[in-house]
């Protein structure tokens, strides 16, 4: 072999960024489920946005062909991502931008920090960005003495509340307006003391607070919804216009983009700019779509840096089942329809990517063992797949990640868990009808556990998970196969 083996792609490093929780999903969910205010806020917000999305998607006659086109473009793009990225780099460079490659969160944070330091500034304004949340950029900048100001309204609420985002699109979805008013009164300098929780009043307070930042900031940091390889154009799709302020007013713009956000051509946008707003905010078209290509003399930022981020994406791309999770355009439709997300909220997932897409993306970026409970945080109801604008088969990826988790755990050579023993025994019993018949008859011993009413009310752990809230019927006197054998002529 003459080629140089570069090694397997690495996963996102530990100790930096926000892809791992400090608790398992069931433990974090238990706490969230008992927060009645959170439950109310989530149920209200997700049901509202679900209905909006359903209404505007229903208007589009060719929605299914659009989804298929989105899936096909993403699949084809990922298959040649390496080539497209080089095209993007060449195009950005030709238009006066500088491209930086970051293998992981530490490299990306280091690059951005050095770029800001080179300008001599100690403040940056930020456009809402999942990639910079993922790598923990704000914390890294703070360590270097640089203050990062979030300018997306919901991100501002999260930042002022010293909180974490709980939704991809609406990071403060877990807050209601009364809570937002309290945060503003507590944390926003110069806010009027008679501030009400009327949404226009809250928006006006945020507008005044942010306007000062927009006018003074010399450096902006953004993410990107799309990067167009053929022209080197980056795009941000938003509702508020605060992103456009950041993208146009400062002197230096630094964009951190996950490598999977790339699209080969402008023409591809035709599909995604129809799919994204309807799926995310439930709007026919989003109010602001900003596109910039390198540097334009005399207009907008005069220095532009693009940081291309891997941070586990190549590892995900290497998996033939899981790689379609990289097709995600961060619309959040899967979060809004997920019955698990609706009840637990985003923080229970421990990662900045919550909900169904987070449950398949986070474990791939970090390695399955570092997010081992997430693939199981789903009832596999399939509602996420139905609404996904690029047709990511999330339930199938969840099932495959469970397989990977089970097989990696077994390969680790530890003492088999109770579950492993039970599953192996069940497979042994169920692969032979004689063993199965005897087990079925033995199951009738379960009748001894039944109390009055023919129901079993308590079982030992881990089956107590069932009986804490549900009865279990006592096994019947006669299995179906015994009934068949008794009542039907043999051999039928």
């Amino acid at each position: 072999m003459t080629e140089t083996f570069l090694g397997l792609p690495t996963t996102a490093p530990r100790g930096v960024g926000h892809l791992r929780g400090d608790r398992s999903f069931p433990a974090a969910a238990r706490e969230a489920l008992s927060d009645s205010q959170l439950r109310h806020n989530l149920a209200h917000a997700t049901s509202t946005i679900r209905a909006k999305r359903a209404r505007v998607v229903g208007e589009v006659d060719d929605w299914e062909p659009l989804r298929l086109a989105g899936e096909a473009i993403k699949t084809a793009t990922m298959a040649r991502l390496d080539e497209h990225l080089l095209t993007l780099e060449a195009a950005v460079t030709a238009r006066g931008g500088v491209v930086h490659w970051a293998r992981d969160a530490n490299e990306a944070n280091g690059i951005v920090t050095e770029l800001v330091q080179a300008t001599g500034e100690t403040e940056v304004v930020k456009v809402k960005s999942m990639a910079t949340q993922e790598i923990g950029l704000n914390e890294a900048l703070a360590e270097a003495g640089i203050a990062a100001y979030e300018t997306d309204l919901a991100e501002l609420i999260v930042q002022l509340g010293d909180d974490q985002p709980s939704h991809i699109l609406v990071p403060a979805i877990h807050r209601n307006r009364a809570e937002i008013r309290e945060i503003f009164l507590r944390e926003m300098p110069g806010v009027p003391r008679d501030l009400t929780d009327d949404p226009p009043a809250l928006a006006e307070a945020a507008r005044r607070h942010l306007r000062a930042k927009f006018l003074s900031a010399k450096v902006a940091v953004s993410g990107a919804n799309f990067g167009i390889a053929e022209t080197g154009t980056l795009l941000v799709v938003e509702s508020e216009g605060n992103g456009r302020m950041c993208l146009t007013l400062p002197e230096t713009l630094i964009t951190v983009m996950g490598v999977e956000k790339l699209l080969p051509t402008w023409r591809d946008l035709e599909v995604f700019l129809q799919l994204l707003p309807r799926s995310s905010t439930g709007e026919r078209m989003n109010p602001y779509t900003s596109a910039w290509t390198g540097v334009t003399p005399g207009d907008g930022p005069q220095a532009f840096h693009l940081v291309l981020l891997d941070n586990g994406r190549s590892a995900a791309l290497a998996d033939e089942v899981g790689r379609s999770a990289l097709h995600c355009i961060r619309c959040s439709a899967c979060l809004n329809v997920c019955p698990v997300y609706e009840r637990t909220g985003g923080h229970a997932y421990g990662s900045v990517y919550p909900g169904p897409i987070g449950a398949v993306l986070s474990p791939q970026l970090t390695g399955v063992q570092d997010n081992a409970s997430l693939p199981y945080a789903s009832s596999l109801c399939g509602a996420c797949f139905d609404v996904c604008p690029v047709r990511i088969d999330i339930p199938s990826i969840l099932v495959d990640l469970r397989r990977r988790h089970v097989e990696e755990t077994a390969a680790g050579g530890r003492v088999p868990s109770g579950e492993q023993v039970v599953m192996a025994a069940a497979a042994w019993v169920m692969s032979d009808v004689g063993r199965w018949r005897r087990a079925g008859r033995a199951g009738r011993l379960g009748r001894l556990l039944a109390r009055r009413r023919g129901q079993i009310g308590t079982l030992p752990p881990p089956l107590s998970g069932w009986t804490t809230s549900r009865d279990l019927p006592a096994p019947p006197e006669e299995t179906f196969r015994d009934w068949w054998a008794r009542t039907r002529a043999p051999g039928r």
Partner: protein, 273 residues
């Protein structure tokens, strides 16, 4: 038509009345039902919990047992979903080409009960009689994996005497999800609570669905609440006739060992129940 019954492991051991109702319904419609005696389980629990390799012998066994059937029916959306969508995946990953071919063939010939009735046998009125207030929960796998659509509702609407009421939030998961109900018991229970609230809001006597597993979940919750609403599988509603009605009340399950044999009780009860 000659139809092979895949009763499913859950109905076999826990809900045999569902299997008996399926047999009685199909025979009443003039079809012959066979029960390949060596059948066990499709392996869904293994596949969906991550134990795909362990599911391989189950997939192999299942395809062998049903190899001679031209048409197979199962009273379960999720078990048919497993046979139709997951057996081939397991065979491709761990099996051989022969098993892939067998699993593909098996997938093409296996139907969920409402699919068999409406699509294959071409009936949406099975001549059933069930004079009770009923609401229908479309289980996730029948709805979104098999896409049975309104077939179960078409069958139910044609049941004589039925008072069929719409279930609010019907398409939302009940929270069962197999081992999810135990691994994430708290979240599962929160989902169950909302499903039960919707069921009870309808004032229905009976909740019906195409999956015994989901019914075991919601029914287990309703039983714990002493709600008085019981669950019956779609097959049990459709099997009910004026001559041999399925009771809407919970059967008498006093568990004393009275010495009365199962056969004697069966004879006393009569019919399929």
């Amino acid at each position: 038509m000659r139809v092979g019954l895949f009763v499913t492991c859950l109905a076999d051991t826990m809900f045999p009345a569902v299997g008996r109702a399926t047999v009685s319904l199909l025979e009443r419609l003039g079809h012959e039902v066979t029960f390949p005696a060596d059948q066990t389980c499709c392996g869904q629990m293994h596949v969906n919990t991550g134990y795909q390799r362990q599911a391989l012998p189950l997939v192999r066994h299942h395809t062998e047992v049903f190899a001679d059937c031209d048409v197979v029916v199962a009273p379960s959306g999720s078990c048919v979903g497993c046979v139709r969508h997951q057996h081939r995946l397991v065979a491709e990953r761990y099996g051989d080409r022969k098993l892939v071919a067998a699993a593909t063939r098996s997938a093409e010939r296996t139907y969920e009960l409402s699919e068999l009735l409406v699509d294959v046998l071409g009936v949406d009125d099975v001549g059933a009689y069930f004079p009770h207030r009923v609401t229908y929960h479309p289980t996730c796998h029948s709805l979104r994996l098999l896409r049975v659509g309104d077939k179960p509702l078409r069958l139910l609407r044609n049941v004589a005497g039925i008072d069929l009421v719409e279930l609010p939030g019907a398409e939302e998961c009940c929270g069962f999800g197999g081992t999810f109900a135990v691994k994430n018991a708290d979240t599962s229970t929160a989902m169950l609570a909302d499903k039960m609230r919707h069921v009870l809001d309808t004032g229905a006597d009976v909740l019906t669905a195409g999956d015994s597993s989901c019914l075991m979940h919601v029914g287990g919750g309703l039983s714990r609440l002493r709600s008085g609403t019981r669950t019956l599988h779609l097959a049990e509603v459709l099997a009910s006739t004026e001559d041999s009605p399925t009771p809407s009340a919970e059967p008498d399950v006093s568990l004393d060992c009275s010495g009365v044999s199962a056969a004697e009780r069966q004879a006393q009860r009569g019919g399929t129940g």
